[in-house]
Amino acid sequence: MNFLSIFVIIPLLTLFALYFARNRKQINLIAATGATLLLILSGVLTYLYLNERAMGNDSLMLFRADMLWYAPFNIYYSVGVDGVSVAMLILTSIIMFTGVFASWRIDPLPKEFFLWFFLLSSGVYGFFITIDLFSMFMFYEIALIPMYLLIGIWGTGRKEYSAMKLTLMLMGGSALLLLSILGIYYFSGGDTMNLLEIAQRHIPIEAQRYLFPLTFMGFGVLGALFPFHTWSPDGHASAPTAVSMLHAGVLMKLGGYGAFRVAIYLMPEAAHEQAWIFLILTGISVIYGAFSAVVQTDLKYINAYSSVSHCGLVLFAILMLNETAMTGAVMQMLSHGLMTALFFALIGMIYGRTHTRLITEMGGLMKIIPFLGVSYVIAGLASLGLPGLSGFVAEMTIFVGAFQESGTLQRILTIVAVTSIVITAVYILRVVGKILFGKVQNPQHETLSDATWWERTSVVTLIIAIVALGSLPLWISDMIQNSIMPIVGKLMAAL
């Protein structure tokens, strides 16, 4: 059994254990144990990975293992990680961990909630560790479908509508993906599904012209690519706290990760040729999401549109097709994952107290619930790219990287994207000013209690991660950059 597979196995074991849990205490205990194990495991993995690299192992993917699965289609269960996957695994573990704590008092049906939650996580982990197109796709879909029930059962507001919309749109994306995976498989010779091996082949450019947009759009739907982002506001608004966290924090990253790992890596020629189309779309995403967020009054909508903007930046950076921007993209995935999770966690906690998410109905909460208030400010600052917090490093890496591309379109779009930092500031400060500062709007809010220990655990973990990433970024950006180099090398060779 390969070391990496443990990442998939632990959630499944947790699932199994949860099935026998009797009361809420046991359920929480099991879930927390599973999540903690995963967190520890990802720490160990990071250590091992860096160690291995330090030892001079410079193969593309480490901890490789292949297990033949479906011989007629050359499907293997192949695993392997590079710096990008390790970064994503850390992110997932952190968010799983905090997500479990954030849903400590989930109601009703706590057992079912965690069952689906862990199933979803096993899909996410699987997606990040596999390098076989089929397995990747399978895990991708495993990660999507529990969403429906998680939102539909434990959500709020127009949950049925949102859940259905989200599921259908994401499945629409995965339909495009399935087609493109088949196309990649057959046009690359039809004898391997392994990413690394396909990367050695040459897919005919005529095929790439169709497959690249399919793949990119397929992943783009999950990455909230304009105009396929509309599931995001509704979905996030209706989802329960932990699900919003996991979804915005990790699942949306699947899109970016896939776009970069599959679309760009395997089809560099078409990427060069068609980048401009998607650059325009992502550029629109960035600015459009930000502007939309400005006028929203529901906290979750604000954050969802903000996610559209930030995730747009991820895809935008990937499409710049250079090393710096791509590193920035991965950093942005991490950073956005952490801070948006923090946001959603806090929104959930605030909502749990005030029973409203409308910023017009809140005010002066800083005085009443200072812990949550301060944490919200920190999340906001991370979101608007304050140095020392994660957002800054990621965004700057993206902007500097994007600016290295000298095409007129890239230039213009980069400058347009840069302007988003101002708009981000506008909507973040608007929210902070409205809900935390000022006078208390609702006298009933005067008696709210501040965060409980599990909520503190969740929030503090995320804040620590955000600060750590923001103030000491070098080790992780080095790790990512080293893994991106081969991909960029292939891109350069395709020019």
Partner: protein, 472 residues
């Protein structure tokens, strides 16, 4: 006249033995004792299945009238398993007052339609084939009308027999013209003789209609929802998986082996039919309120996906097709199992009756949901794999646009499958279906289906076994 050749027909002979034993038993025992026919039938059929589960070398009997390929063993085993599961699920329904007296007939007729399917599968001659297909459909009508005092069942029987005979009339006319243009009815002899030309194409189309009808592709599907709704639920289950699966497989072998030279024609026919079948069925399924009717449209759309395997006309296509049938069988039977249990206990078949089912019957609704996910092609359930493979088979032959359309339709299908899930899990009901204690055989059937849904995909051995004997 060496009749020892019959001994080679293991499958048919042992099924015949089962049938004869059951008939004899039914005739000879009293009604009260008659309840033993149920375990007897299941056990016998299981033994029959196990005995014949191992492929042999290919052979021909009666100058090619009967042809055996190792693949047939798998297909027949799949049909057997489907039948066993249907028997398990039918148990409780057959024990109620109305149908108790007709128990023996149910088993006998079901098995004789199965026998018809066997013949249809292994036929190497149009005559045998035609007899097979008729044997699978005409007695079927009596099963559809099994609840003969219920208006719906009787009406469904009438509709079924009328439309099936109409379709086989057209088909028969087609066969006659095939004969007229070629002079032979042996499949192997026909292949070089069918070369095109208006009359052959026309006769081919006439003939194919009979099969399209059985698989219920649009526009030959109109009987399906009515019959599915009216027929007793186990019969619907049988119709939707066993006879459809066999017909799909036969369609593949016939099209590739007999009409191989008309590949351009039938590929374009199927191309159109797949698109309209999947799309139209999906559009219709959305608005259904009766779950059996809903399943009818679902099965029409699934038939469209099945045809993706046929249109690819490759060994991959065949193995994907058979695998798809296998997975589809388990998924569909799981759903029908739940429907049967609920219908037997409460008589409710409307989708809105399923509101809040999870609160009262968590296990039933969970199984139902897994099966629905499997049908929709959601991993890790087997349906995901079967869908992937069948798309892969079509894509391998370059049908990318078709695969794309089919994929877009999977979204709609996911939508309506989720409607059921929504009803069971998300909705609350004022008067939900009460807690149901299901009968043991039905439970066994559900467990079998569930295991299959989960493991048929994850364990690649199933597919690889099938792939090993695929031919074209």
């Amino acid at each position: 006249m060496n009749y020892s050749v019959f001994l080679q027909l293991h499958d048919e002979l042992s099924l015949l033995v089962v049938m004869v034993i059951l008939l004899t038993f039914d005739i000879s025992v009293s009604i009260r004792r008659g309840r033993y026919i149920q375990p007897l039938a299941i056990v016998l059929l299981t033994i029959h299945t196990l005995l014949n589960a191992f492929p042999r070398d290919a052979f021909e009997v009666a100058g090619g009238m009967y042809q055996y390929f190792p693949m047939h063993t798998y297909v027949k085993t799949i049909l057997n398993i489907g039948t066993i599961i249907v028997f398990l699920q039918a148990n409780k329904w057959l024990n109620n007052k109305d149908s108790m007296i007709r128990r023996g007939e149910f088993y006998f007729i079901t098995l004789s339609t199965l026998f018809g399917l066997y013949i249809m599968l292994s036929a190497g001659h149009f005559l045998l084939f035609f007899i097979g297909i008729e044997m699978a459909s005409i007695p079927m009508a009596t099963l559809v009308a099994f609840n003969k005092y219920q208006h719906k069942s009787a009406e469904a029987g009438a509709k079924f027999i009328l439309s099936t005979v109409f379709a086989s009339g057209i088909s028969l006319y087609g066969i006659s013209m095939i004969y007229g243009t070629t002079g032979t009815l042996y499949f192997d002899d026909l292949l070089p003789l069918i070369v095109g030309g208006p009359m052959q194409i026309m006769s081919f189309v006439f003939f194919a209609v009979g099969l399209f009808f059985k698989i219920s592709l649009v526009p030959f599907h109109l009987w399906t929802p009515d019959v599915y709704e009216g027929a007793p639920t186990p019969v619907t289950a049988y119709l939707s998986v066993v006879s459809k699966g066999a017909a799909a497989f036969v369609l593949f072998t016939l099209f590739t082996r007999v009409f191989g030279n008309l590949i351009d024609e039938w590929q374009s026919i199927l191309y159109g039919l797949i698109i309209i079948s999947i799309t139209l069925a999906n559009v219709f399924a959305i608005r259904q309120q009766n779950i059996k009717r809903f399943m009818a449209f679902s099965s029409i759309s699934q038939a469209g996906y099945l045809m993706l395997g046929v249109i690819s006309a490759s060994t991959t296509g065949m193995s994907s097709l058979v695998y798809y049938v296998l997975v589809y069988l388990f998924s569909n039977l799981a759903i029908f199992g739940v429907i049967t249990i609920i219908e037997n206990n409460t008589g409710k078949v409307a989708i809105k009756d399923y509101n809040g089912l999870y609160q009262t019957n968590p296990k039933l609704s969970a199984i139902m949901m897994f099966a629905l996910f499997s049908l929709a092609g959601i991993p890790p359930f087997a349906g995901f794999f079967s869908k992937f493979f069948i798309f892969a088979a079509a894509a391998e032959q370059g049908f990318y646009v078709l695969v794309f359309i089919a994929l877009l339709n999977t979204i709609i299908s996911l939508y309506y499958y989720l409607l059921i899930v929504k009803a069971m899990f998300l909705r609350k009901s004022d008067e939900p279906i009460e807690r149901i204690t299901s009968d043991i055989p039905a439970r066994i059937s559900l467990v079998i289906c569930l295991l299959a849904i989960v493991f048929a995909g994850l364990l690649s051995a199933v597919y690889q076994q099938i792939a090993a004997y695929s031919f074209i």
